[in-house]
């Protein structure tokens, strides 16, 4: 399935959770994956999501840098 992370498309396995998409995004953007837990993730309305939150195909999420 495809997830839109910070306006970039990421293809990832079906059933991926927010944490999975964040990891893929982190690797792709050379962000230290041991630090991903410090990132905040929001949905399209700006609500906070946790890493275990389910994702749907074509869902948009945003990763906020601290």
């Amino acid at each position: 399935m495809t997830i839109i992370v910070n306006n970039s498309k990421i293809r990832i396995f079906k059933g991926a959770k927010v944490g999975d998409a964040v990891l893929r995004w982190a690797v792709r953007n050379r962000f230290d994956i041991s630090q991903v837990s410090s990132l905040q993730v929001t949905d399209q309305w700006g609500h906070l999501l946790d890493n275990a939150a389910p994702l749907k195909d074509k869902q948009s999420i945003n990763i906020l840098y601290q």
Binding site: R11, I12, F13, D20, R24, V27, D43, H47, A52, A53
Partner: protein
């Protein structure tokens, strides 16, 4: 402790004495608790505090009460710790979350039979032989006010909840928007109308648009962290994260059979010292679960090093998922020594503690080759462990920071065919960090990889992995 209690008391008292006419309906709701048994004693204390002021407060869960903590999910009967805590607190109702189906129809039937509160879902049909007893709705009498609560369970694109299709065999589901209009009559008979849904915040916004005659949607599934609640199309929607960071207190003022004002506030569960003693005693009991000490297999010899234990993990995943090849990142193996003798459930959870899930994909030999290198790079230059194939890794130099050449061999020692397709299993962590080009990204399974190892060891009995490795290194 005192401060926390006072803030709850103030919250309730202000709204209690602030009403000139009519009645106040209070609902304390939670969602996606996901086996957070450690938070339940705090939850119980909050419920006690609010009930001291308003004994009619409704305590409601929007589903996914289970899955997320081995102390709850491995208990027999499954999920009993969570259910007994919810019984102790005195929940009035729960929605059916997609994870409620994780222990199949038999497991869900048992969970429901152990629960002292009803499960609400109007869009599920359960044949009598399933043993599952679900109500579409409940009408609660709160100080003479009729509060109608209609339950809706999650249905995915395939027409089933997000769980393995085998888990819901024999059950049938309808889309929420097809079912909700059938209960319009209920809303006309009740003073307060609540949709208790497990469909996700985005879907709930659409439901609010389509069915604005509801006063409140108690939302869940997407783990959305709202600041209290939000009004969409005139409907108040509440949802409060994952594993009980907070609970939501919704206050509805009712006059003349109508809700005239509504608000939702978050109450934090961040003070473990403020807990209900009975719930704390239950928690201690369940944390001493004999299930954790259950012997699932035996090691014939002592095992030294991450490699042999990693190979064992991969063998287990490979056989349990009926794959040709399995791979695990080196950093995913958390033990480097296990003594010969019995292996317990706790040992397996320490070996593979991340509650990862398997991801099964079909890869060509070339795609696998590239994925192994991508995993090496993302896992701090540590080559992954495999089963179903072995590797000879040639590094550019002794620092082993870069791979010059990677050769893969099948179980007969022949070079792996780069064009042939293989069924490959790994965990969701590797499937995420190994960012290499591949046609099939795979599908995430609904069990944990540690569960796969446990089941595999139960079948194997005694295993011997002394000295095993899946790759050799050169430079």
């Amino acid at each position: 402790m005192k401060k926390n209690f006072l803030s709850i008391a103030t919250l309730v008292l202000v709204s209690f004495f602030g009403i000139a006419h009519g009645e106040t309906v209070r609902i304390l709701s939670s969602n996606d608790m996901h086996s957070a048994i450690e938070k339940m004693p705090q939850y119980a204390a909050i419920v006690d505090s609010i009930r001291a002021i308003d004994p009619f407060v409704l305590v409601i869960s929007a589903g996914d009460n289970r899955t997320g903590n081995p102390y709850n999910d491995l208990y027999e009967p499954v999920s009993y710790p969570m259910i007994s805590m919810m019984n102790l607190i005195g929940f009035d109702a729960s929605a059916l979350g997609n994870h409620e189906y994780d222990s199949k129809v038999e497991g869900l039937a048992k969970v429901i039979s152990l629960s002292n509160f009803p499960y609400l879902a109007a869009n599920i049909t359960c044949p009598p032989e399933s043993g599952i007893r679900v109500r579409p709705y409940m009408v609660f009498d709160v100080k003479g006010i009729k509060v109608g609560v209609l339950g809706i369970t999650q249905v995915g694109d395939n027409g089933l909840p997000d769980t393995h299709p085998d888990n819901v065999k024999g059950l049938s589901f309808q889309l929420p928007e097809e079912v909700i209009p059938q209960y319009k009559w209920l809303t006309e008979q009740c003073d307060v109308n609540v949709l208790l849904t497990h469909v996700g915040f985005d879907v709930d916004i659409e439901l609010a648009k389509q069915f604005p005659y509801y006063d409140l949607i108690i939302s869940s599934h997407t783990h959305t962290q709202l600041e209290g609640g939000e009004i969409h199309s005139g409907v108040l929607i509440t949802q409060n994260g994952y594993q009980l960071p907070r609970v939501t207190l919704t206050t509805l003022e009712v006059e003349g059979g109508k809700v005239v004002s509504k608000k939702a506030e978050n109450i934090y569960l961040n003070n473990p010292n403020r807990h209900a003693e009975a719930a704390e005693a239950l928690l201690k009991h369940f944390k001493n679960s004999p299930e954790m000490e259950r012997v699932v297999g035996y090691f014939k010899n002592d095992i030294n090093g991450y490699d042999p234990l990693g190979v064992m993990m991969c063998d287990a995943w490979l056989e349990e998922c009926e794959c040709d090849i399995a791979l695990e990142n080196y950093g995913g193996v958390r033990y480097d020594y296990i003594k010969a003798g019995p292996i317990t459930v706790k040992d397996i959870l320490n070996l593979d503690p991340f509650l990862n899930c398997p991801v099964v994909m079909t890869l060509t030999g070339k795609e696998l080759h590239d994925m192994l290198i991508a995993c090496f790079k993302a896992d701090r230059n540590r080559f992954p462990i495999t089963s179903g194939c072995t590797a000879v890794v040639t590094y550019t130099d002794a620092s082993k920071s870069s791979i010059k050449k990677l050769e893969l061999f099948d179980t007969n020692g022949k070079k792996l065919n780069m064009k042939k397709k293989y069924r490959v299993v790994t965990n969701n962590y590797v499937a995420s960090i190994a960012d290499s080009p591949r046609q099939d990204q795979g599908v995430r399974g609904d069990v944990t990889t540690s569960d796969l190892i446990t089941h595999w060891l139960e079948k194997k009995g005694t295993v011997d992995y002394q000295g095993r490795s899946s790759f050799t290194e050169k430079w």
